[in-house]
Symmetry: C2
Subunit: 246 residues, 2 copies
């Protein structure tokens, strides 16, 4: 698919995904938001809670560090415990250090006061932010995310991640949303391959894909047409339906 | 966590994951199987249906090509349509070409005969296998996966992927399964951070993690202890429960 939309990657940090304990959902949510708001998500990576691996991944993905993408979003590893090492790794990748951020500290202090809790040393860990970063609002539990270079660092707890996404994405310069149309046919993928390829050749500026599935009544295929030019997407879907006889 | 188990990565190939249309499930399933059978999954990547990106990812991940891991498992892109380009990309990464594999052709022919279908040119695409690869059995729909170097190529349709995993994994030399114990506490992560860190320091050969969550009754945290030495994992969990007062 031809696109001049900003490119993006997602980096998920978490042993619990790699061990199979938790099924990842934040990247899926953000993928939907990015597609709807005109960002071109091109890669997702999941790495373990390991300093060197996180640093290497950020350098490979953050365009301001010579990495591959205009924007990088991370999920996980910014809590109060010893295994929350994302802030330090992001700082290292960006050639800076971590300090207690006054505004982040004030946000945590305010929340602790409101809930009658002490701002302990562990809670204060969540105000450790790379020098030069700006904060991402956390409407759920106060401890902020942050942005530095092209890297936008968000929490792993799904409710908090979603809140941060809701705050952050409208503040980023997006592109044109992708129009996506799909049709389900009750045939195997092989039976529609030729028609699909013919239409894909005619509409080479769009992305045409086929996704086979199996359910109780046998095999079927979802045919999907995606592109930035809504009229072209509509034309391609009409051409596809006509060829297939729908 | 200390481990001399074989390391592994998963590469998911599919625009439909990156667009947010489909929530990825194959990597989650395989992560659980790998953990249970003594493989150390260290990275998951999702890339688009793009030849160069697939080739680059395979080279970065397949240990026999200078990549980072002992084993690489891929999901997706081996069907009969024009956007199924995984076999060509895997061949290119491994410095070989794709040919019709006689055994794969025979499997497809047999299935077509059984179902009264013609082995069309599109269906025959699924017998295109990199030269030098061995086949992975497909109990669901005949079209095989394949293994070359450290790369094991499987289908994206979940039922077929799972069938291939069931066939393949017992044939690979695994290591020791990870023992994992978890306990849920109805406290925020900050309130258990100190105890967790103390026990993690005592049991530095194990992996101790904390995973906060929020539900209807407020915040809680899952504490997880993982390691290869089952007795040590049991000891660490007992120590953790004692410190926290459970």
């Amino acid at each position: 698919m031809q696109s001049d939309n900003p490119t993006a990657a997602i980096l998920v940090i978490g042993d619990e995904i790699l061990s199979g304990r938790t099924r990842e959902g934040n990247a899926h949510h953000l993928a939907q938001v990015l597609t709807a708001t005109g960002f071109d998500l091109q890669e997702i990576r999941v790495v373990s809670d390991d300093h060197d691996r996180i640093v290497a991944a950020i350098r490979a993905l953050d365009g301001t560090l010579g990495g591959g993408y205009d924007l990088l979003f991370t999920s996980g590893g910014i809590g109060p415990t010893h295994d929350d090492i994302t802030a330090d790794a992001v700082a290292a990748a960006h050639g800076t250090t971590v300090e207690i951020h006054p505004e982040a500290r004030a946000l945590l202090q305010e929340r602790c006061d409101r809930m009658g809790m002490a701002l302990t040393e562990n809670r204060l860990r969540m105000a450790r932010i790379p020098v030069g970063a700006t904060l991402i609002d956390n409407a759920v539990s106060a401890a902020p995310g942050f942005s530095i270079g092209a890297t936008h660092v968000m929490a792993g707890v799904p409710e908090v991640f979603r809140g941060m996404v809701d705050w952050l994405i409208p503040r980023l310069p997006g592109g044109r949303p992708v129009r996506s149309l799909s049709v389900e046919v009750r045939r195997g993928e092989s039976d529609v391959a030729e028609d699909l390829q013919a239409v894909a050749g005619e509409f080479s500026d769009l992305s045409l894909g086929s996704y086979p599935f199996r359910d109780d009544t046998g095999w079927g295929t979802n045919l999907v047409v995606r592109g930035l030019d809504a009229a072209r997407v509509d034309q391609a879907m009409a051409a596809l339906k006509e060829r297939i006889g729908l």
